[in-house]
């Protein structure tokens, strides 16, 4: 096979058995890789109604055909499993160097199943692999673990691992790779922890071969030319995604004090300029890239003294929103320290920050007594926020409740409406009242509160075109609902393809010519989508199979919703003033555009059209 390595490594932890299997070529064509490939195998191999932290759950580490190639930002892989946070499908995507190295070792996917009796890690060097004891590693943080494993294996080995949060089954624990990159969302790290599995180290010296080398390289050159969006390719390169803070604040959708407002009076103190000026090691310039990426949005920061002294990767926009404005925290050093703590402990910064923001509001409203927490937890208390991150990771004191995520925390205190989440997963840092399209996307995302599986916001207010899919100018009034269900569906299907291809969606969104990605996958693998329609049909197949997974897992139309605050409480200030999400106006039309029943169940005709009727 070209693009794909054609091999899957299956790791059964219960029986300590490792086997190499051939990748099913038909499945590869129908589900591509990453998000789609991992989903298909998971769907076929587990009962979606199982308990996510049981031995029956599996974890798929899936690369795409473009991963490890010379395509732009061909650095991604997706961790697919059943989420302990949402009970729905989890597909957490990460970049860095590990995914490409896994490909060079010769594997499209690693399937982790069963449960080890004792802490274990996996060492892969091309076609040699073995399970090793990780007893010495249990309890160690992500940096210590990565360094120890590299020391024990190979100086060029790339490592994925969990930190203490994953071991302690924190519902928003991440799987970290290359120290500072995260398959962050939906608690995938807890699933790894539940299996007594600490890390994978990989070293590969094989290449990725290409079906049509000349055609492929012509497309790479063309992609560079088409990388035209100056915001994504220049501003983000200079300031990282942190630059979005000021923008979101200007348009009035920066989550502030647990989404009570959409503007933060101290936004400029925690924005991209401030980060570049005093903390980013390379100032206002390209800093650290993932494999094969021309943008290099990654930041490497240092706080040199004081109580927030720390160093490491980040923060990016979502983290600044969650640990900054959502917590009413204007101290950038606390945000940076908080980010580094999350990286070391192996936690999702979005859910961690948003859960703390929820706790802060509950505390201020008198719904959580001070004695439950042990200290005052008002908005703006950066020091308490950092302490709580450690406590959550270790499940110490109040941290044990926080580690369950904002929905379970707020439900415990009889106030679930204060959890700013969808399907129990916390919102990222774009308040849904700021745009009807991405509000609908939050409500219908198969993995719950999420912006990155369908960047509708990029079209709605960054004004980015997606050639032949969504043109700027079409339904672009962000507060209008007309036409949005169709836009959301198309972008969701397109993103299924980006996430399955192995390239980063930042590059895809900055390359508005969608045909570039189509041709890239075709020349890489030799498959033929039969044009844009066939390409999007593959994305739609993936999206619908995720939906089927969720339905079988017990989710329903009741879960395609948003908190009361989004639906009933308008912003009282800023450019979004007066707006709420008009979900009831859009959801029936969305289901209809999808070919689903009025309670969101895919019709038989739709399933047949997508070739998934029999499953």
């Amino acid at each position: 096979m070209n693009g794909w390595t054609g091999k899957i490594l299956r790791v059964n932890l219960t029986h300590q058995k490792l086997t190499v299997e051939a990748l099913d070529e038909k499945i590869a064509e129908d589900y591509i890789g990453g998000r789609g490939l991992g989903l298909k195998y998971l769907y076929d191999e587990i009962d979606p109604s199982i308990e996510p932290l049981s031995e029956e759950n599996k974890i798929m580490f899936a690369t795409g055909p473009l991963t490890g190639t010379g395509a732009l930002a061909a650095s991604r892989y997706t961790v697919v499993t059943k989420s302990p946070l949402t009970g729905a499908i989890a597909n957490s995507n990460s970049g860095g160097y590990f995914p490409a190295e896994m490909k060079f070792a010769g594997y499209d996917m690693i399937i982790l199943e069963g449960k080890a009796k004792k802490p274990t890690y996996l060492w892969i060097e091309n076609d040699q692999f073995e399970l090793r004891s990780a007893e010495e590693l249990w309890g160690k943080d992500v940096n210590e673990t990565t360094e120890w494993v590299v020391e024990q294996t190979h100086p060029e080995a790339k490592v994925v691992c969990i930190g203490p949060a994953g071991e302690n089954l924190v519902k928003f624990a991440a799987i970290m790779n290359d120290k500072g990159r995260a398959a962050g969302r939906s608690g995938v790290g807890a699933v790894m922890g539940s299996k007594n599995f600490k890390a994978i180290a990989v070293r590969g010296t094989n290449g990725v071969s290409i079906a049509d080398p000349q055609g492929f390289m012509d497309n790479v050159a063309f992609a560079h030319e088409e990388l035209t969006d100056p915001y994504m390719s220049e501003t983000i390169a200079k300031y990282g995604t942190a630059d979005v803070v000021e923008f979101s604040n200007e348009v009035g959708l920066l989550p502030t004090r647990n989404h009570q407002q959409g503007t933060f009076e101290s936004a400029e103190k925690i924005g991209g300029m401030a980060l570049a000026k005093d903390y980013n090691l390379k100032g206002a310039s390209r800093t650290k890239a993932c494999f094969s990426c021309p943008t290099a949005c990654g930041r490497v920061t240092k706080v040199t003294e004081g109580k927030f002294k720390s160093s490491g990767e980040g923060p990016e926009y979502e983290t600044i929103g969650a640990l900054g404005s959502a917590c009413g925290n204007s101290n950038l050093e606390a945000v940076i320290k908080g980010n580094h703590v999350c990286n070391e402990m192996g936690m999702d910064t979005i859910s961690a920050g948003s859960s703390i923001a929820c706790a802060m509001e509950l505390f201020e409203k008198g719904l959580i007594p001070k004695e439950d927490i042990g200290f005052d937890l008002n908005f703006g208390n950066g020091e308490a926020m950092v302490d709580l991150l450690y406590m959550a990771a270790k499940r110490e004191g109040f941290g044990d409740k926080l580690a369950e995520g904002s929905f379970r925390l707020a439900t415990h205190y009889n106030a679930p409406e204060y959890s700013m989440s969808s399907k129990k997963q916390e919102f990222p840092s774009y308040d849904p009242r700021g745009g009807q399209g991405f509000a609908l996307a939050y409500a219908t995302s198969n993995r719950g509160g999420c912006h990155i599986r369908q960047e509708v916001h990029c079209v709605e207010f960054f004004g980015i075109n997606l050639l032949d899919i969504v043109e700027t100018g079409e339904n672009l009034d962000r507060f209008a609902t007309e036409g949005k269900p169709d836009v959301v569906k198309k972008i969701q299907d397109y993103y299924c393809m980006i996430d399955s291809s192995g390239i980063c969606n930042f590059i895809a969104i900055a390359t508005p010519n969608t045909h570039v990605l189509i041709k890239m996958i075709e020349t890489c693998t030799g498959i033929n989508f039969g044009g844009l329609d066939g390409f999007l049909k593959t994305g739609e197949r993936i999206f619908n199979l995720e939906k089927m997974f969720n339905l079988k897992a017990g989710l329903s139309v009741e879960d395609d919703t948003l908190p009361k605050r989004m639906l009933e409480e308008p912003f009282t200030e800023g450019p979004g003033k007066g707006h709420v999400v008009q979900l009831a106006k859009m959801l029936p039309e969305y289901y209809s555009v999808r070919g689903w029943s009025d309670i969101g169940i895919p019709d038989q005709n739709k399933l047949e059209e997508l070739g998934i009727a029999s499953i």
């Binding site: 010379g70 993932c290 021309p294």
Partner: protein, 160 residues
Amino acid sequence: MPKALSFNKDVCTGCRACEVACSFKHFQEFNPVKSNIHVSIYAEEASFVPLACIQCAVPLCKEVCPTGALQKSEVNGAPVINVIVEKCVGCKMCMLACPFGCITVSDTGRAHKCDLCGGDPECVISCNTGALSFQSTEESALQQKRSVVDKFHSHQEECI
């Protein structure tokens, strides 16, 4: 004024596009271990250092080669040491001699090293940040001087 491949580690982001471009040019596959250029990564300091053969004026690889498989020539105004594959017996003496590790023997059993792609290096074309350039050595030295003095100058301004 001879040209050379020059490296500016200050602006390298560690994306390794040069590694994949090089391996693709020479082996038609994306495989960093077959690349003639390598980026060393010091992620915690956001420091990334690309290195490839610097085409030494006194090439030790050539000196030590028992079969005369390494030959010095010039492409596009740059001195270059090329491997004559037909003469190479894969003895790896060149690997022992090179102080930089910039020549290796691949799975073909023959030595390979940076050949400047015949005068238009793919790594330079692939580099998005200006970390790699193909220019006269005087120009490279001038840029290095300027970059050091710029830093000194900005600190001096801060002090005043």
